[in-house]
Each structure stands twice: as C-alpha cells, then as structure tokens.
C-alpha cells in the first residue's frame, strides 16, 4: 500500500469511528463496523481515485455496509422470532466513555436517514454535496433531512422551537445564554 494512501486512511479513522458510533450507538459495534470498512476499502483500494477525498470514500463504504447490515438484522428479527432480541440482550452494555446523555438518547430516536445526514453535515464537516454523494441521494434530500432532524431533536429534547411563545423566556435565556457570546 502506498504510504500516502495509508496515511490518508489513518487520518480518516478517528472521524470514521465517531460517525459509526453516532450511527449505531455502541462503541463495540462501531469499531467492528470500522474494521469491516477498512477490510473492504483495502480489498477495493484500486477503485479509489487518487486525489479524491479519502474520508468521503471511506464514509460511503461504512454507510453502505451499515445500511445493508441493518436491513439484514431487520429481516432476522422477522425471520427468527426472538433470536435477534436474545442476541441484543447478550451484548455488553455501552462503555462508560460514551456518555448516555439526553442528547444521545434523542439522537438515537431519529430515523436513520435523518441521523446520518445530520451527523455528516453538522459534525463530520462534509458539505451538503459531499453528504449527498455519501448517501447516494439528491442535495435537496440531504437538506430536508437535516432540517427535519434538527426540528425533531429540538422536539425530543423539549426545546420550544418558536421564539415568540416559549414556555419561559427566562429559562430559555439561561439555556441558550452561552451561545450568544
């Protein structure tokens, strides 16, 4: 493997992990997902075009792999009654380093397509165009998913979305005060 390719892959790994954890909610599963992504990437490294965005390429592989695994597991749930539920129960609890915050809970309640769009644009720093490419959809679709994700998050976290009729203006001022500076 070319040293520059190797470096580009290693540079993308931390962000790839963060994306995977945000997608599936478990560090262990996320790291397996990253590992499977790297194996796939290396097996298909000839299809990577030098000079293009390595991170975006790896994110695309991870995202597609996650989606197909997810679909497979959904089928398993339907096919083998109770079996998948058992396997979930036997999985270890989330590691302490993943803070089980209100925010994370709310994020996990978003539909997958909204969650991935929001993370790609809002945290990974991809442009709408890059996110659309990674998810294989139109730019407008990404924009609307991100908007719906934000609105839903605010609802789930019981933040009132409209400025004119908050439950308590004073509380809000405290909550958002830090962002003004």
């Amino acid at each position: 493997m070319d040293e520059s390719v190797r470096q580009a892959i290693l540079t993308a790994v931390p962000s790839l992990r963060a994306f995977a954890i945000s997608l599936c909610g478990s560090v262990d599963r996320a790291d397996d997902l990253v590992q499977e992504t790297l194996v796939r990437a290396l097996a298909n490294i000839d299809s990577f075009q030098p000079g293009t965005n390595m991170a975006a390429w790896l994110f695309t592989i991870l995202r597609n792999h996650f989606r197909s695994e997810y679909r497979k597991r959904r089928r398993e749930v339907e096919d083998t009654d109770g079996h998948y539920a058992e396997s979930l129960k036997s999985q270890p609890e989330q590691h302490g380093r993943v803070e089980f915050s209100e925010f994370r809970t709310a994020l996990s309640k978003l539909p997958t397509d909204q969650r991935e769009a929001l993370i790609l644009v809002g945290a990974s720093g991809f442009s709408y165009e890059e996110a659309a490419h990674i998810c294989g959809c139109a730019v407008g679709t990404i924009k609307s998913r991100v908007n719906r994700a934000r609105t839903r998050l605010a609802e789930l976290m019981a933040i009132d979305g409209a400025e004119d009729f908050g439950p308590d203006q004073a509380t809000r001022a405290v909550l958002v005060g830090n962002d003004r500076n």
């Binding site: 992990r17 925010f103 993370i119």
Partner: protein, 71 residues
C-alpha cells in the same frame, strides 16, 4: 402591513402563532447553535481518542497480506 420581519415567502398558515403539530417549526438560531454544539462535542470526544491500536495493526496486517498475494 404586518409588523413581522420579512421571512421570505410563507404560507399564511405557517406565519400564525397558533400551536399546530403539523406546522413546520422554525428553530431559532440559538437553538440550532445549541444542538449543533452538543452534536459536535459528542462527535469530537470520539475523534480526540485518535486511532486505536487495533486499526493500525489491522492496516499493517492487511498490507502484509496484500504484498504476499501479489506476484
């Protein structure tokens, strides 16, 4: 004329202040900023952990195999 700030083309229904679950909620910039901050801080916590050894080892191993596999 309405004394509301011009917010582009809005359907009259969306401009009213009655609570309606179906009406799209317009998030204030403060709330968007707050959500964005929480999302990034959750994400960056993981990014700051760097590259776990298992992935450096994996790349080394895959690279070795790749070299062996080639004539």
């Amino acid at each position: 004329m309405s004394d509301e700030k011009p917010t582009g083309r809005q359907k009259p229904m969306e401009a009213t202040t009655t609570r309606n679950k179906k009406a799209p909620v317009k998030l204030s910039r403060d709330i968007q900023a707050r959500l964005g901050q929480q999302l990034r801080s959750m994400y960056d916590d993981v990014v700051e952990q760097g590259v776990p050894d298992r992935f450096t080892d994996l790349l080394n191993r895959l690279d070795e195999n790749g070299k062996k596999g080639k004539p």
